[in-house]
């Protein structure tokens, strides 16, 4: 609200009828909030145990943009959410993410607003604090961001790197794209193939986790499902092969972007 986001409703079961800070009405269900205020986006902070249910409630109510901040949702719950979404019109960002911000206009998330500045760089990332770091480097060098999207660090989530890049590619306000990935899965590679085929805007990449010990959090079979993909070195090679300039360290994202923009 401080940032200027138009917050028209809150939802807390059994607290319907209250008014938050004398301004925002509270409802018992998302459907009521939708019907009475016409809200078209929601941010979910519900504890992990109940978060999947809340995401499905928001989708069922027809909310177009659902941003789920909650960390620690069981994987099997997220599989159900993904199934529930089939055929629905909602876009899900997250879970386990900082949210989305269009600097100077709208913030649906938990990122520190002051590090951002309106501009032309689109940023997409699997990690919250890594996004802040990249955004801060861009802002410190006098550039701003068109929109920053944290897609979240969970294996099963809504919007993907590819989805975000497709959005940035179509957005006339975005001139260059920064994609921040990490080890595990194959989403960065998928996005890179899309960049090679369809994107003519400059794309900068970064992959975290080159020094992470192999095997932690990843069983044998998991490593196979991703077809031998997932290691940082493989991802960096895949990105570079598709014309993405990859920053060597996190501290070099800003400078790498500046150099690429000069070309």
């Amino acid at each position: 609200m401080e940032y200027g986001t138009k917050v028209v409703a809150g939802v807390t079961p059994a607290r319907g009828g209250e008014v938050f800070e004398g301004r925002v009405p509270v409802f018992d269900t998302v459907l009521e909030a939708r019907q009475q205020t016409g809200c078209n986006a929601t941010m979910i902070f519900v504890p992990a145990e109940f978060a999947a249910d809340s995401v499905m409630e928001a989708i069922d109510a027809g909310i177009e943009l659902v941003v789920c901040i909650t960390e620690g949702i069981p994987v099997l719950d997220m599989l159900k959410v993904k199934q529930f979404m089939v055929g629905k019109n909602s876009v899900l960002i997250g879970p386990n993410c900082p949210g989305i911000i269009t600097p100077g206009q709208c913030k649906i998330g938990i990122m520190p607003g002051y590090i951002h500045k309106p501009g032309t760089i689109g940023v997409v990332s699997r990690s919250g604090t890594l996004t802040y770091e990249a955004v801060w480097q861009i802002t410190s060098r006098g550039y701003g961001q068109s929109t920053c999207i944290g897609i979240g660090g969970d294996p099963i989530h809504g919007m993907t790197h590819r989805d975000a890049i497709e959005f940035f590619n179509a957005d006339p306000g975005t001139e260059a794209i920064v994609m921040i990935g990490e080890i595990g899965g194959g989403e960065e590679e998928e996005a890179a193939r899309f960049v090679k085929e369809r994107v003519h805007k400059p794309v900068i990449g970064f992959i975290a986790g080159a020094t992470a010990p192999p095997g932690r959090r990843m069983g044998h079979a998991g490593a196979i499902v991703s077809g031998g993909k997932g290691a940082a070195s493989d991802k960096i090679a895949a990105l570079e092969a598709c014309g993405i300039t990859v920053a060597k360290t996190l501290a070099e994202i800003g400078d790498t972007l500046m150099e690429r923009l000069k070309k």
Partner: protein, 396 residues
């Protein structure tokens, strides 16, 4: 979270998957008396540690192999005496190896065929997937590399579950004849039920065997669980063996800190998993080596920060500490106060480099300045990494 082989087999039995009958022993005497009570004269003794490759492993005593076939009870006792209380090194344990505290004594089966059967998560498809192969008993990664065609993948619809026709298809592909088709299908369904009801991230049966007597058994099993779902799996949490985990990680988990111990000498405290990984990477880039991965999370309180700092400062391998915080929900002043509190109770005699940015950064920096602690302040991430690497080298 991981569990032992014997615990995995108990769970499989509970869901109706046959495993060779076996018992667990903690002493050679117990092992011998258990062996006497078993009818079979073909027994196998298996060291229980949370790591694969036990059969080809070596004990630090020089004794070869953590899986041994025995014919008599006294032989079982003698083999157990060689394993219990000894450290077993396999390709998965690292050089330090693992102390064997329990052995499983199981009936050995006359194997006709060895197969591979696993259920895990397919991230790209967003559903569970069965992975199966005729080439069981081997490292599945090696099979995937040498002969990828020998591996069958069957995605499972998370809403519909494993469908009967899918089981029949898999049984056929795994070469089960008319006699065992139904047993195999029943087993596949039982394993899927275990996977979903216990919130597993991996169920791996390797090998799944067909015996000469025509029975179908899970001869060895490995189960991993989704840490996010442990709140609703009290029975699984009760199986956790703290002895198998890095003591630093056990301490960190008591305070809900996401910590992974590593071999380097620079302690790291970071907020956010991605930033924590990238901080390790940049330390490595400047010629240093991280002692740990530590994500204090987005909503950590002063106590958690204090405990995190205690773990770093109390690690004898740590020669310098880097605190790298980019505050979002996490406020920089909370981190600063946590460090100041920890300093009062822990004697920290290694250099400390702190880099703060984000929410309440000025307040955090002010607290640290006024605390009078010997902190090396850094502005950017590269500067922080360079300073901590130099400090770690200096204090060696």
């Amino acid at each position: 979270m991981n569990i032992h082989e014997y615990q995995a087999k108990e769970l499989l039995e509970k869901f109706g998957v046959a495993t060779p009958s076996g018992r667990v022993a903690s002493t050679p005497e117990e092992a011998e008396s258990l062996a006497r009570s078993m009818i079979s004269n073909q027994l196998v003794v298996k060291a229980q540690i949370h790591a694969g490759g036990r059969g080809k492993g070596t004990f630090t005593s020089g004794y070869q192999g953590g899986v041994k076939l025995c014919k008599t009870a006294s032989e079982v006792g003698a083999v157990a005496a060689q394993m219990l209380g000894q450290t077993l090194v396999t390709h998965q344990t690292g050089e330090a190896g693992r102390l064997v505290r329990k052995v499983l004594i199981a009936e050995s089966k006359e194997i006709a065929r060895e197969l591979y059967f696993a259920i895990t998560l397919d991230r790209a498809l967003g559903c569970p997937v069965i992975i199966a192969s005729l080439q069981g008993g081997m490292d599945i990664e090696a099979v995937a590399e040498k002969s990828p065609d020998a591996i069958v993948r069957e995605p499972i619809h998370p809403g519909l579950g494993l469908l009967p026709f899918q089981s029949r298809k898999l049984a056929k592909e795994l070469g089960f004849g008319p006699a065992n088709m139904r047993a195999a299908c029943r087993l596949f369904h039982a394993v899927y039920r275990l996977f979903t009801e216990c919130d597993c991230s991996l169920v791996e049966i390797n090998p799944l065997v067909e015996t000469k007597g025509g029975e179908v058994f899970a001869l060895d099993a490995k189960l991993n669980f989704d840490d996010n779902a442990l709140f609703r799996q009290p029975e699984i949490v009760a199986m956790r063996d703290l002895d198998e985990e890095d003591p630093r990680e056990v301490q960190a988990s008591k305070f809900n800190l996401n910590y992974i111990g590593l071999d380097g000498n620079i302690g790291c405290m970071v907020n956010g998993a991605g930033l924590a990984m990238a901080t390790m990477d940049i330390i490595n880039h400047y010629g240093g080596s991280p002692a740990n991965f530590l994500d204090v999370g987005g909503g950590a309180n002063e106590q958690q920060v204090t405990e995190a700092f205690k773990i770093l400062a109390g690690d004898p391998n740590v020669k310098a500490i880097l605190v790298n915080i980019f505050g979002g929900i996490m406020k920089c002043d909370i981190i600063a106060q946590g460090i100041i509190n920890a300093w009062k109770v822990v004697s920290c005699d290694v250099p400390l480099v702190v880099r703060l940015e984000g929410t309440n950064v000025e307040l955090g920096k002010k607290l640290l300045r006024e605390s009078g602690l010997p902190i090396i302040a850094a502005e950017g991430l590269a500067e922080a990494a360079e300073k901590v690497v130099a400090a770690a080298k200096g204090s060696n």
